[in-house]
Symmetry: D3
């Protein structure tokens, strides 16, 4: 009863355009395996390029949010969207970035009760608002975040990451994207 990694055809690496193949090889060298999101989205090379360009623009940029904080946004909103791929894969990344074996499960299930700071809870409150009722975003939300020390650029980061993973969660659910088994255990051992 094991599911395939995507409802759609998964291209062979050798059939992919050179730039996409290079990107996939780079992640494979770094991680030791190819995360399935790269294979599933490679079915459509143009969309693949835009997706990862967007992802990197948000997740790799210099920001007032740490990389771990950005992953918290992904994990919290993705569980609320019931996106298996994103919670499992980004849960692994969050554990590694935060050097914390517990934080991902805590944030995924109920960030309000996680071992994170009040500032981080305010960040996740806003991320959830953008994810689920962005039409209510208003000046009072900006004021609340500023009172926690977030700049307007930080607020863009929070909102844009929640928005980008709104897209990503839906693509994963549409394609039935399957998380690699490697992610489940990554960052869970104290020495990892």
């Amino acid at each position: 009863m094991e599911q395939p990694i995507s409802r759609y055809p998964v291209p062979r690496l050798e059939d992919l355009p050179e730039d996409i193949r290079a990107r996939i090889r780079a992640v494979q060298e770094k991680s030791g395996f190819v995360p399935n999101v790269f294979l599933a989205l490679a079915h459509r090379p143009e969309e693949f390029r835009a997706f990862f360009a967007y992802h990197d623009a948000l997740m790799e940029r210099k920001s007032g949010l740490t990389k771990a904080e950005r992953e918290m946004i992904v994990v919290a909103t993705s569980n609320a969207n019931q996106c298996q791929y994103c919670v499992v894969a980004h849960g692994a990344i969050l554990r590694i970035r935060a050097k914390d074996t517990l934080v991902s499960d805590q944030v995924a299930i109920n960030y309000r009760k996680a071992d994170i700071s009040p500032r981080q809870k305010a960040m996740l409150d806003f991320a959830m608002k953008v994810a689920f009722e962005s039409y209510t975003v208003g000046d009072s939300d900006f004021a609340a975040l500023r009172s926690h020390g977030f700049s307007d650029e930080d607020i863009w980061d929070i909102g844009a990451i929640a928005a980008f993973f709104a897209l990503s969660n839906r693509m994963a659910n549409l394609t039935g994207m399957r998380p690699n088994e490697e992610f489940y255990l990554m960052g869970r051992l104290p020495t990892s």
Copy 2:
């Protein structure tokens, strides 16, 4: 009480990177004005490039969906997300693409009662499912769409457009993006 076009600073054209300036000039020449989404998102050039690359990959590709049908997906899901910019701007584009002065308001308010085909209603049922409960997408949805003549690639298009505008709606609501006044009337006159 008129709102600005974005909560965030809007760059001057002359301060933008050349490729972005060129893209904006091209749309200005074609439309006669610069849609505010280009100015609001230009605040972050890298994200701008990824956003429009993604947009074009979905909205300009050769597809089993007509361009008007793709705009229907945008209009229906964006009203459900209460995204002022996307409903007004893409409502204008839909009227023009469909050469139909009524279809945008009908689809925005309640696509189930719009003057569109049963196939198009099935397309929008699925788009709404991806937009609001993508975690329930399953084989029976694919079967239902295939029975209306949609290929699996068409289904990817429907789902991916709904997913991309999940992102787009949230960015517009985050930035308080204001639709240009030009859009409101575009395509509403019988001869337009």
Copy 3:
């Protein structure tokens, strides 16, 4: 694929009771056409009389709300109820009453971001509360509205209009009432 104006039989003018025929002729003379709500509801003359008596009692009375403000309540709550007839028809009336070509689409899609006053937004917050969770209405709502200068009679007007269009939206959705094509463009041209 054009829908009929009602799921139910639409009476011929000459078969209607004299008072109803007179009312319809009066609106036709004033507007240049007969709005379909008059024809669809004339299927049941007694209900027709009560419906329009109620409508006029609320929408024509002397009130602390302007006529445009009352139409804002109709447009905002009717879009949330996905009522095609009411958004299209009352959107037209709102544009004319407010002498504003943009306000109806703004208020329909997301009144929180419309070019209206804070007082009008407070009015619409309350109208939405009455429309969707009237069981929570309490003293603090009255206090909030009074702080914007609304009298208790004004608050009755806001709530009663939201309540009346809760009825109206449901009747339009029940009968599949179709908006006249004339409404779509009314009030959209700067000189209109």
Copy 4:
């Protein structure tokens, strides 16, 4: 801590227009007391007249629905709207009309498990749909109801009663309308 019968001023009988006073006296003679809805709504005579004209047009007309069935619609939708006045007052009327001491509480709390016929449950399924998601009403709903023997006119009755009490529930919640104590026990004694 007992609440007043309305948040708004309640007129004295002698200050009311003659027709309204007559109507109230008639109901008082028949029932032995004046139901508070008459007093609370008399604050606005024009709306009072339209309200009761509409009510009577639906609840007193000759119909394929029995009077008890019409009251079931009121009771089921009003509890879902958390309208104290309508559940208590119409619960009393339903007990009397149905000559059944149990049916009102059963229908109010969960009509799906009430001692009513499958046809009546289908009627209430549709009434709830009109009350809470009328935008989804479509041909398949009409087909389902016809299979239970309902005519299209009966379906109008079901939908219109649900729609009218959408208005009524909101007015009762807006005004904080208090049910008369007499209603609580009415029709609960086997001989009543």
Copy 5:
């Protein structure tokens, strides 16, 4: 069309273990009849014992909440869960405990408008939060309740009763548990 008291087999008293039979006889002597929850749950003796042990631990203990207040929690949350058995049976108990013929219907339909104290409304606000969104319970809820004079042990009582009837409501809905007719009238007569 009268429903059975449970979807599951109902044991005969003489076939039950002695302790359960004794418990049932005790309640029968006190009440004059056997409430159906005892018969329906006796289908599984071990669960029966745990259920009533839990029930008594919460409902019979010495507490800062009166017995009537505890029943209010049951009645308010059970109507929101559409649990016919619990609203009817505990509505009867609440009327008797509170010596108030009206309070049960008021609290069931909309406790915000019931003739109860602000302290009791705060108690029910929290009970509803535990019943429907317990994941949001936080320090500010405890502070709000303490400001009404509730101790932390009282707050446990409120939350635990809401939690226990979350279980109870679901069991009643699963088994289709039917309230005894005796409950409907109990406590409704002024002298009762």
Copy 6:
């Protein structure tokens, strides 16, 4: 920022009644640590006894459901209730019972896409229905489950476990119950 294991005082083992202390020691010997739920609930010995008696009656009984299947119900419904303790602790138990390192995260996030059988998905569909809209449970649900080979006693088990953890999730959220760190890694290593 690490949370305590409960908002309420946690008793010392030596202060507990003998039967509770014995129960806790037994679980400690078996597991190597004391799961926090035992300590948090020991604050109220009577409720503790009823809680675990109920738990064991459902989770330890001979049933048509395997022990792993029963844990699936806990994990799926507890994540939907955002209960950190239950997802983490029962996720560990499920991994061990199912001898499957992946199943818990899959079932928690979106059981519809987990590597489980169609019969198990039907079981979880019903468990979610009992957990979130038990008022709609009806004969067609029983028929659907029987078609997957479930007996009526199995259906009771599914529903009663969903109901019991509705209670359990609320108690964990009320008390802010913190999962032991040991649970996070349990059953995740292939040899465990």
